[in-house]
Symmetry: D2
Subunit: 293 residues, 4 copies
């Protein structure tokens, strides 16, 4: 991690933490959410005489499923909760994939999916490294919300036997599981082989000619001349930097109102992105710590 | 409860238990799920200098929100979980409302929403008691799955600032909350005043001419002549009862293969729905017990 | 048709007309909506030299697809229109199936899906004829809206090559087509063999003790005593009929304010549902006429 | 238009054509799709005596709505078609907005939404021009598919009176119309003031060091040495160009297998993107022509 600019590590542990929260949701689903459903024709276990509850318990043991208080055949909130856990995980995979596909753009080129024979390449457009895994996860994230919506809609069932909604679950829940599994596999693939171009990341930061550090300079200057005046000076200097295609530091270094309070060495330090990280390291450590739970 | 046929009480505690499971989901959302989001322009709290974490803690206390490990602005799984909890609750309300609207049909007439001045009546069709609250809950349950789907879809956000998906949450999440709240209010209204016609429920059971007890008779007969033979006899007798518009008991009472094992008094007892409840009472007690947690 | 009560014929031609409107949408899709997509790596046909347009035309002929003005690879409105046509048709099938499943209820028993060996029956609950085809169509109608939503969502594609949304179409559009096809097959099955119990329909009408004719009586009485007074009398009489479990005709026949204007023979005619059809026959003829277009 | 590189003009007329197809769908909706609904309590117009059809016609004239064959209160395919037309238009707006937001990225910087006082700027991050209108359209395109799904789902209505689904239409259809209208307004705003940086577009094309022209070179070389051999040579040269960070032209100019067939002047021409446009101009003219219909 030490070799990576903090900005990327920062993103990364955020992504890992999002996936970890979904892992915790999946775990809870297995231990509490998805309970055995077994009830007979009318949900009374009557056809089993006085053995209904014993059979229920034995079945739960064999299937390793938690026992519910009672059969729940047409109350599908547990199934809907499962669907939502899958959809949320797929959504997190989609968010990660979006970022990767944005970084893989030819004009950005900060990170790339792992290369491989016949993978993501194009002989027609050989400069491209297509986001193959990211596309899979983004496709999944386009589908999952609506598959989950079908499961939610199927909660509205007639009395003790659904005529239709239940049947809508049959193809939909397995499809949602496949889609979720596919999204997760794609993200694992990305996570295991993401090819990060640290130099390009830093170069891209530098293309803004120091403008990304405007807030840092403004805060430092505010210590001397107050927030409002500092904000005013930096905003005007930023406009000048953009209009004249100059580096913001050069504009500021030529402004006596600034140099009166921030000398050249101080300005240089303020323009180092690595020196304006706020609480990032603490936040990263906390997120890393949470992954063990 | 003793005065109601078990079949209805049975439904009722199932419905209450489904709502209770949603109450537990809502509670978990409040204590764990929905954590404070506070991070500044880049999620680093940098503009607050060394006070970022202290401000975060104070803000969490004032808003009574759990603290997250770190800001999570573009990782929206927590928001998606909230949306899913609302949608699942609305789905359970829709299921309850469906049952009520089915029972309110003119041809069924087993239960009715509370009457009231100007409510659900029709001067053009004065025999109707329209399912006003149930319609509200069913309308909500038609909307909620797709409102939740929008929130899931909005998880796919660009880097540290969403261009669009985040904005889709703004009108959608409050609408989902209103829809959920409306569905729940409608169900509370129904629950507090449902007008159950016990006599009609029993009369409707009797219109099947004993056929609903076919399983019970078949199980009793199986004790003497085996499952397969019992099933065969009852199935044929059921067909005869339907074709000849006779009560199943009368068909069976004329069949020596049956009367050899089940005398008239036994047959009469077997045709009492109250005597074929399986584990219902235990299941009901368990569900009732779960409501306290 | 003459043998059926108008009320059912009326429903029926409405259903057929709804399906016919979807047939017209499907036709338009075939002749205009779904045009050939062929454009090469960048949509310019450049790799075909000067033969691009000729190849396009020949391909359109061979696939019998209308030619677009230009390739449209990442503008998916045509695909979204196809999805919407499928979803709308499935919705109409769902509406028809809902009505059939409501009529098949044990307590209503007005119409039944065609019976068949092993179809929709239950040996445990032999009185039931389960709505097998209706359940299939209702299941489809639960899925189709959300499958179409995925196709709509997939319109948002990146530049000239989609990373994800396009891939979401691949499994979704064929699934939507299967679901639509299944819904339609179920409705054809129902339409070809629906078993209507005309006597029970009429008996169910009669269970309201004349209350369904309240509007007709009120209109007739209004000719003599004005709308407001007529409405007032009929509303009070309806309440009496419900409270005393009497036929509305008997309540009215004992009310001199009514009999002064409507004698017994007139009252009897007014309580005949077949005599209060409004413009039904004209509307039915128009709908039937529209089916030929 | 002459001043813009064809690649952008090409995108532009494609976008306009997509919007135009939606305009045609909206027109058809106005003239055919959305017909008057007027039918009275049971859809028979009976309460109007023999004036039902005349009142219907007059009402249609006053509301300037096409007349249907008959009332259609619980057959909602027309409403569903309207919703789909809105959702498809919003989807096309979302696609346009996605492209704009991608072009506005700091690292791409090819086009920008119109600037304006207080619009899309950030004093904290002054280098950014945030995609304000594009975000609005993308937010709308995140919502519209699911609002349309609710309308589709609401097609499944009970008999002649819906208990719930119809009510779900009430808030949803107006919201969908607002969302569509907002998306379209955002795109109009973009279309009227998009600030295109032609020089940056060309510069970005050049950053691929000629690799985007690989197909063009390969086709030209194939005329002399066959497709397979040409493909093989260009693919290897492309890998070399990437690995050595050289321009593809320089790699090819050093390869005798290439220069034997393509001299320097020819190579230079082949690397001009403006010379490899295929049928673009014809396609553009066709699309422009279609906008008048």
């Amino acid at each position: 991690m030490g070799a990576l600019p903090v900005s990327y590590t920062h993103l990364d542990v955020y992504k890992r933490a999002a996936l970890h929260r979904s892992r915790q949701r999946l775990r809870r689903l297995g231990t509490e959410g998805l309970a055995l459903q077994f009830g007979g024709a009318a949900g009374t276990l009557a056809a089993l005489g006085d053995k209904g509850l014993a059979v229920t318990e034995q079945l739960g043991r064999e299937l390793a499923l938690p026992l519910p208080e009672a059969p729940w055949h047409t109350h599908r909130d547990r199934i809907a909760e499962a669907a939502s856990v899958f959809a949320i995980l797929t959504g997190s995979c989609g968010k990660i994939a979006r970022d990767v596909s944005l970084m893989m753009q030819t004009d950005v080129a900060e990170a790339f999916e792992p290369a491989g024979a016949g993978r993501g390449g194009s002989s027609t457009l050989p400069h491209k490294r297509n986001p193959v895994a990211a596309a899979a996860a983004l496709g999944a994230a386009t589908m999952a919300p609506n598959l989950a919506a079908t499961i939610f809609a199927a909660q509205v069932q007639d009395h003790e036997r659904s005529a239709g909604p239940w049947h809508a679950e049959w193809p939909t829940l397995p499809t949602l599981e496949l889609v979720t599994s596919g999204a997760l596999a794609a993200i694992v693939d990305i996570a295991e082989g993401l090819d990060v171009d640290v130099a390009r990341m830093r170069a891209n930061l530098d293309t803004t000619h120091g403008l990304i550090m405007a807030e840092a300079i403004s805060m430092a200057l505010a210590d001397s001349i107050g927030k409002s005046e500092a904000h005013h000076i930096i905003e005007a200097a930023s406009r000048t930097a953009i209009a004249d295609k100059k580096h913001l530091r050069d504009v500021l270094a030529a402004d006596a109102r600034v140099t009166a309070h921030l000398d050249t060495a101080r300005l240089d330090r303020l323009f180092d992105p690595m020196a304006y990280q706020g609480a990032s390291q603490t936040l990263i450590d906390r997120l890393l710590g949470s992954l063990d739970t």
